[in-house]
């Protein structure tokens, strides 16, 4: 095995482990929070792992030169995780709100169908034009889903910057936004990958390393954002002053509101 192959395999394994942790942690949080749309985000991470495993089986089949069931399964499942990401963004940021979701999901599904058909066709015919279409569809799906997540997170982060919300929550938006940009950047090595090139080709080797580094960075930043260990949470919250909420009985509270309304007094604490 070449050093470059070992490096890619090592980084790929790290990415898989982190993605698995992200996916399982999110599934566990659904049971605690009843936020069922998180299933889509969990599915995004877990399907990425399935894609990777099937990719290995596909590579083995591909070496034999036979276009069999594994090739079809591989292209059917590959990139499908991004559709779950689109659904997650919709249900997290845009429920009952105007959004481009319908257009994005419809075009993404159409692109996914075209991607699957043209990818399998290319394996049989080796027609470069078909390969261009297949690649274009893959890049489109990766770009729209990750850039929509990046836009949604970063624009909310910007609007919330001066609000009295705990710092770790604000930073979570920022980290998710940055990680989504890294995810979108994967489209670049995907676009530049030469046809039928092996890892022995230096350009292909560099592209593969960049691709896998982007993957690991995305998985790691997602881990920091979603799992966010307590130490990181406390560190990000270090400048935030928690205000102890005064507890009032219902009668006390209603009397205070009545008084404030009659006096127009809003000098209470925050």
């Amino acid at each position: 095995m070449e050093p470059i192959e070992i490096t890619i395999m090592l980084l790929g394994t790290i990415m898989l482990i982190i993605s698995l942790m992200n996916g399982i942690y999110l599934l566990w949080r659904i049971t605690k929070t009843r936020l069922h749309h998180i299933t889509c985000l969990s599915a995004f991470f877990l399907i990425t792992i399935i894609e990777f495993v099937i990719r290995m089986a596909y590579s083995a089949e591909n070496e034999t030169g036979i276009v069999g069931g594994i090739t079809v399964i591989y292209y059917s499942i590959n990139i499908i995780s991004y559709l779950f990401l689109l659904i997650f963004v919709k249900y997290t940021f845009y429920l009952h709100r105007k959004s481009p979701f319908r257009i994005l999901i419809t075009t993404a599904i159409i692109a996914k169908i075209i991607y699957t058909i043209t990818s399998v066709m290319y394996e049989i015919e080796f027609n470069l034009q078909i390969r261009h279409v297949s690649k274009g569809c893959a890049i489109y799906i990766i770009a729209i889903s990750s850039l929509w997540l990046a836009y949604s997170s970063l624009s909310f982060y910007k609007s919330m910057k001066k609000t009295e919300i705990q710092e770790w929550i604000k930073k979570r938006y920022l980290i998710i936004g940055i990680s989504a940009i890294i995810l979108a950047a994967q489209a670049i090595p995907t676009a530049l990958t030469p046809y039928n090139a092996s890892l022995e080709d230096p350009f292909m080797g560099v592209l593969s390393i960049i691709h896998v580094i982007l993957n690991v960075s995305f998985a790691f930043l997602s881990f920091v954002a979603w799992v966010m260990p307590k130490q990181i949470k406390h560190y990000l919250n270090r400048s935030f002053q928690m205000i102890e909420e005064k507890e009032f009985s219902e009668e006390e509270l209603l009397a205070i509101i009545g008084q404030e309304l009659s006096k127009g007094d809003i000098n209470g604490d925050n």
Partner: protein
């Protein structure tokens, strides 16, 4: 819970009461709608939407706040705009 903080701040500015009182009023409305032992960290977007439309409306009517329909509409919009906080603050 951060979404209550955001909605409380908005209500406080609109009705001219302190943010503490506004948050307290929203919490009372949540208890009216969902039950007295509600865990605020488990409230969903749909729960809060119902709270604003039903029990908070009743609570505000009790205080004879003017133009409640517009206020409820604005609060619903504020909830829609900030809905991601329910997910990102609770995971």
């Amino acid at each position: 819970m951060e979404i209550i903080k955001v909605l409380g701040l908005f209500l406080s500015n609109q009705v001219k009461i302190s943010p503490t009182a506004a948050r307290g009023l929203i919490k009372l409305a949540i208890k009216d709608e969902i039950g007295p032992f509600t865990d605020f960290s488990k409230i969903t977007y749909v729960n809060l939407q119902n709270v604003i439309e039903n029990s908070l409306r009743k609570r505000l009517t009790h205080f004879k706040i003017q133009d409640i329909d517009t206020l409820i509409e604005q609060l619903s919009e504020e909830l829609k705009k900030n809905q991601s906080l329910i997910t990102l603050a609770n995971i």
